[in-house]
Symmetry: C4
């Protein structure tokens, strides 16, 4: 393991433990990745089926652009590695994080018919990279869930080319994907979306519908 | 205490502390067990009436197939040891975990009239052993609560023989039981069910009824 | 400080930090006490106005039956010391704990007109000392809040003599009091009531009213 | 860095980590400051865009009354430094804390039309400096959010001169500001307001409207 890989792996584990404590990665759900090098692409990727509350740096896998595990790494990469690789390719992301929270699950279901939801008027939006004001309108797309990973990767790539300014998306009744140039930025984006989705979900409890936008 | 017992006891304590922190084992509620050996059966079992947030390996009791405490162990095993033993017998489980959460209590009450609830369409279901797709329908039985442990053990055995593919069940206004081949798998199953029951409970807040299935 | 006092003070601090983390003692609210000796009465009591998340054993005050601070202890005991002393006297309690949670505040307000609420049918009730079945009905009295501590102590004493089987009570829009023969039992009782009040409060969200009893 | 600055910086970091754990400073949101000296004014201020869950004392910036960063400190102070400085000036505050919680965001939106909300009848109010009884009525003003910091600072100053007894205020869909003579008092005030706003928000879930005042 290179020093660069080790450092990135430690960073991913710290985030995994923190998000697991918040209930965003329960039951071995969710996955995390970060770019170690670009040419040729090397991604540090969480393995399939491990407890994210106990993730250790030596469990992180090195995968290439075809999701093949590098030598010296044992384990099965997450089924969703293809989605991570596609987001890295389409967005030039340095890190991709995927959470399963109660609130992102609920909201992903409620707005699926309209293909996503607009979020606007919240100061918290300013934490999304490039956003300068709470008056910003953020489109959060929702994609129907599927077990066909290559097809899902295509749907995501198509959506990303159509909406080139989104900072994340939901998979219906599945979870949230967000990313960033760096791991810190990806973590920030996840925290912001989780906050906003909880705020929207709880507002729905009061109003019966989301009156936020 | 054998090395095998010690290691399993430590694993049970780590889970107990983590679940207590989440509010799933408050007020000395809930109990945890894992198989140390099969022939003759030896089960490491949490004692009755102890604070699960402070459970220590030396407090775990060794019990046999009749819930008798092994020599060298002092303390009273949980009243629900009979239920654990029955699940181990009927399912060949390697570990059985039982939690009392606010959400499993609420949902266990709401669906008791229909004997349980179907959960389907959630990606999180894929974490249940043997489930391959979110399109899976998981039947979560609800059994009326009772203080008659032998009778309750019979009801559970009868239900398990009728529904041989369930991964857990609810006792009405009491709590959740789940299990696994290993302790890690049992923990994963509890986290998944608790997540799904919270999601269903919170969806009920919005819709007035569960529209998930 | 005697060894007995030190040990009790450490136990109170551990509980204070844990309850503060759960949001039950925010903003320096709530207070905790335990009996060090009976004759003459010596009570270890949390001081007024301190952050319960950072409570240290040396901050605990020794008070006598008249709430006078013992020599060697500096600080002002909580205004509610009189209530603790009265509960110790009326119930022979070995420890008294008082929490301010969001759910106990909400429920204390909803049922004040009827003077309290019955809680029944929950397995969790079995954790209350002397309760043997979930079919138990627990009366949780609610007393109107007041800043007149001697008068409030009288109201509490009167209620306790009338309802000699209660395990706790609510002060309206103020908080929960519970107690036990030991500190561990008092902690268990608080966790049980907080669990049940959250369960009842969240059920109200679904049904519009508490249908539990 | 002076010893005084170091100690204050450590105190700010401990609060930042604790509030981040509660979900009140997610996504690098919120900011914290405390007065190091009055003449000339030196304020320890959290930098812009850092993860509050990992804030370290050496990241805190020293700023003067014009929000200029002192020598020996690298980094950009928060955009909202002007608001902190204004509150310090208008109130003589020793510390100013600003949180983004789900509940303060929701409540700030619901009562904006009436310019704020009255909170009364809660024991928790007694923790606000100078309040002696739960019968106190606390006015919590809500100011429309803006990215024009000098203008927002003026709005706040105007509001503070009009309502010279408030202990905090909300910015619409943005967050809560509170302060205190000391850092401990400011922390206490934030915990109290967050508790009360959650209580009010959850009561709205039950009643459809806030019936508390």
């Amino acid at each position: 393991m290179s020093d660069g890989f080790s450092e990135i792996a430690s960073g991913l584990c710290a985030i995994a433990r923190g998000f697991h404590a918040r209930g965003w990665l329960l039951g071995t759900s969710g996955n995390l990745s970060a770019v170690v090098q670009r040419e040729p692409l090397q991604l540090a990727m969480s393995p399939s089926g491990v407890d994210k509350g106990e993730l250790k740096p030596e469990q992180l896998l090195s995968i290439d652009e075809n999701a093949r595990v590098g030598s010296g790494h044992a384990g099965k990469p997450s089924d969703e590695s293809l989605l991570h690789l596609r987001i890295v390719k389409e967005r030039g992301a340095g890190a991709v994080l995927h959470t399963h929270s109660v609130w992102n699950t609920i909201v992903s279901d409620l707005y699926v018919a309209q293909g996503g939801l607009n979020i606007e008027g919240y100061e918290m939006l300013k934490g999304l990279q490039g956003v300068r004001t709470h008056e910003h309108t953020e489109w959060l797309p929702i994609i129907e869930n599927s077990q066909d990973m290559p097809a899902l990767a295509e749907s995501i790539a198509e959506m990303l080319s159509k909406h080139n300014d989104v900072h994340g998306f939901l998979l219906r009744r599945h979870g949230l994907y967000s990313w960033g140039e760096t791991l810190a930025q990806a973590k920030r984006h996840i925290e912001i979306f989780e906050f906003l989705l909880e705020t929207i979900g709880r507002s729905l409890h009061i109003h019966g519908k989301y009156t936020g936008v």
